[in-house]
């Protein structure tokens, strides 16, 4: 690995973790699309910032764009609060309009500036090592590493300081409000962090990848755990994994790094969706299947117990009778009986079915449970 390669991976890792931290709360608060809205809507903020400051790399620019992000959140809330437009429609209205303003500003006035819409939307991580942070004649590495490192520290600090408040406001906003925790203030603080993160990251990875890194890893983690701490930790870990796998994928295929990272994010989510131990699709399918057979065996046991030691036992306790009585077709009834036999709940005795002691217990337990 060459030094620029290591630097690119470092930047990608830091961006991934910085995005995953506020992202976990976005997913839990059902505001995933706000990452999309804000990361697009900051464009006019960036453009106006560049006009005023004259440079793409000034801290003031970050402030201007982050304010635009807050403005987006406020506009969405204002439109929604009129009660005339639903929240999702409000989001779908506000960000394209702000983005259009940005595109028009660039087209009209920014012809000679180093700023185009492609760069904002797509970013170019491969260029990150070329933009160095130098001071006192010394080279301190890629500038993006420092800005994103700063954002990461800020995000982590905010989460650490307001962890309890965020948790409460996310899971029980009513209680949070009644205890005086100001969920609205927290909401805007979180929106501010999302904007800040999106603004700082756009130049390295582009706004679409910001969306992927903010919602993808937390969604993946959400499939695996019920604990908030774990979810945040896993989000960060998945973020790093996606970034690194994405980077090497791009390296091998010689394609856009942001593209492969977003693709990997989707693929990793898909894999976890299939294979997650409890909520995964395979686990769900196996659980349903197991429950189906268990239920059938219990039904059989209850049926046999019902007619045990009664005059009609000889007639009722046969495999072919199950068809009439439990509405099971022949092959299915046969398979249920096989399972029941292999579990030791039922014995076959010259064409008749007999409950074992164990089988009686199964029937008893199932009957009392219902």
């Amino acid at each position: 690995m060459s030094l620029p390669q290591i630097e690119i991976q470092l930047v990608a890792t830091v961006v991934a973790v910085a995005c995953a931290l506020p992202g976990a709360f976005l997913v839990l608060r059902r505001m995933g699309m706000m990452s999309d809205a804000i990361s697009h809507a900051i464009l006019p903020g960036i453009v106006v910032g560049v006009f005023v400051v004259g440079s793409l790399h000034s801290p003031l620019l970050v402030v201007a764009a982050a304010l635009t992000g807050l403005l987006t959140a406020a506009l969405v809330e204002t439109i929604n609060s009129t009660g005339q437009v639903k929240e999702d429609a409000a989001i779908g209205l506000v960000f394209p309009i702000l983005f259009s303003l940005g595109v028009i500003l660039i087209a009209k006035f920014a012809g000679d500036m180093h700023l185009d819409t492609d760069a904002v939307l797509l970013g170019e991580l491969a260029f990150a090592p070329f933009n160095r942070f130098t001071a006192f004649g010394l080279d301190f590495g890629p500038r993006a590493l420092w800005t994103m490192g700063g954002v990461l520290v800020l995000n982590a600090l905010f989460l650490a300081l307001f962890y309890k408040e965020l948790k409460l406001a996310t899971f029980d906003p009513g209680l949070a409000a009644s205890l005086g925790f100001r969920p609205r203030v927290l909401h805007y603080a979180l929106m501010g962090l999302v904007s800040l993160t999106a603004v700082s990251a756009f130049d390295a990875v582009g706004s679409i990848l910001v969306v992927a890194l903010m919602v993808g890893p937390p969604m993946t983690a959400y499939l695996l755990t019920d604990r908030l701490e774990w979810m945040i930790g896993l989000s960060a870990a998945f973020g790093v994994l996606n970034a690194l796998v994405g980077y090497w994928g791009a390296h091998v295929l010689d394609v856009s790094i942001a593209g492969t990272m977003a693709t990997t994010t989707g693929l990793v989510f898909g894999l976890v969706l299939l294979a997650a131990p409890e909520r995964g699709l395979i686990a769900q399918w196996r659980r349903t299947r197991r429950q189906k057979w268990q239920f059938a065996v219990e039904m059989l046991a209850i049926h046999l117990r019902q007619h045990e030691n009664t005059p009609e036992a000889a007639r009722e306790c046969r495999v072919d009778h199950l068809q009439e009585h439990l509405n099971w077709d022949g092959p299915f009834a046969e398979r249920v009986v096989e399972r029941a036999v292999s579990r030791g709940s039922v014995r076959r005795e010259n064409g008749h079915l007999r409950l074992t002691d164990e089988g009686r217990e199964v029937a008893q337990e199932a009957a009392t449970r219902t």
Binding site: M33, L93, A107, L209, G259, T265
Partner: protein, 383 residues
């Protein structure tokens, strides 16, 4: 202005772009109405981003940039993304909007990978595919517009043919299911029509701004009516109007990209509708609230005068405005209310600045007191 519109008739490029934008506005507005009503406003954004890999794949397979194969490819991945989103949200606890955001960015990522791959391997033939990102209305040719109009026409025709069914789907799917309508199937068909509406607009406004074409005309139209038919027609009209004006304005101005201009026109229509639409408009509501609270204040003062009159047993006995001030909670200055009542002839001012009910006012106050079951511990003789 007239100049601009005569140009519309004579200038080939401008006319093509305007026709394309109008088509897109009509189809997007019409089908967008359903998306907005069904709470799927942001699905359009996800679909339009998800169309990107389809466009690249279609080019990879056919090697041509003819509009039809590209649109089919775009529709294919758009539908796939929609199905995945529905699948994930129904089988897991992942929230809908997060699923949208991930589908949007992951599919877009795949599109980006394919586009950069094509840039490396397909040489100059692929040039122009990335115009789908932001749209390039100026590059529309007549053939594109014809394809757009045919596909959009089919989508609108389907909307009309299944009008009753889609209406049921949008407002009460459970009732529809109980009547035996194939609601699931209808849902898939309507979503596919939405995909068609999005796909035909991509070349004009691009994937990022397509969301506005779906949401804005519909949200604006919603303010003016409570009837589905009117809403769909209005949304289509608003869409066409913003499409044409966006095309004309950007055509007449240097360095003004068409897609964003169309979106800003739509935004303007939304703002006007939100403020001015009768009944639902904000100005309208503000005015109604003001007149209601003014009427309530007047009635309150009338009733207070009536109560005072009852206590003194005389309907036309004058009282100080300050006495009435004290009876009203809050900082209201009753003297203004009294002057307004005097204009209506319900109260009158005595020369020494005190106020009493007129005969008319007494009658009105008695009626109000009756309506409100105002209990008085005394009666008033008719003056």
């Amino acid at each position: 202005m007239l100049d601009l519109f005569s140009q519309l008739l004579t200038d080939y490029t401008l006319r093509t772009v305007a026709l394309g934008a109008a088509t897109l506005g009509i189809v997007g507005g019409g089908l967008g109405s359903y998306a907005v009503l069904r709470g799927q406003s942001l699905l359009g954004d996800a679909i339009s981003h998800a169309a990107l890999p389809g466009i690249a794949l279609a080019f990879l397979i056919t090697g041509s940039k003819a509009p039809l194969p590209l649109m089919l490819g775009a529709a294919g991945t758009g539908v796939l993304a929609t199905l995945l989103i529905i699948g994930v949200t129904t089988t897991t606890r992942v929230p809908y909007d997060s699923a949208l955001a991930l589908a949007l960015s992951a599919f877009f990522g795949i599109g980006l990978v394919l586009l950069t791959y094509l840039q490396q391997h397909a040489g100059a033939a692929q040039a122009g595919l990335d115009s789908f990102l932001f749209g390039q209305a100026a590059a529309l040719v007549e053939h594109d517009v014809v394809v757009m109009a045919v596909l959009g026409g089919i989508a609108l025709l389907a909307l009309l043919l299944f009008w009753k069914e889609f209406k049921l789907l949008a407002f009460d799917p459970d009732f529809g299911r109980s009547l035996g309508f194939p609601i699931r199937m209808l849902d898939i068909v309507l979503t596919t029509l939405l995909v068609v509406a999005i796909v035909i607009g991509l070349q004009t406004v691009g994937v990022v701004l397509m969301s506005a074409v779906i949401v804005a005309p519909a949200a604006a139209a919603r303010q003016w009516t409570d009837r589905l038919g009117v809403m769909v027609a209005l949304a289509a009209t608003f869409g066409a109007l913003s499409g044409v004006s966006g095309a004309v304005v950007s055509g007449a101005t240097a360095n003004l990209p068409t897609g964003p201009t169309i979106v800003l026109c739509m935004g303007a229509i939304v703002i006007v509708s939100l403020l001015l639409a009768p009944n639902r408009g904000l100005l309208w509501r503000w005015w109604r609230q003001r007149s209601t609270s003014r009427r309530l204040r007047q009635e309150r003062v009338l009733c207070d005068l009536y109560t005072l009159a009852a206590k003194h047993g005389a309907g036309n006995r004058p009282h100080e405005a300050a006495t009435l001030d004290a009876m009203v909670s809050g900082p209201t200055r009753t003297v203004y209310v009294l002057r307004r009542l005097a204009e209506q002839g319900l109260v009158a001012e005595t020369p020494d600045g005190r106020w009493h009910l007129t005969d008319e006012g007494l009658e009105e106050a008695r009626r109000l007191a009756d309506e409100r079951n105002l209990v008085l511990d005394a009666t008033i003789d008719d003056a």
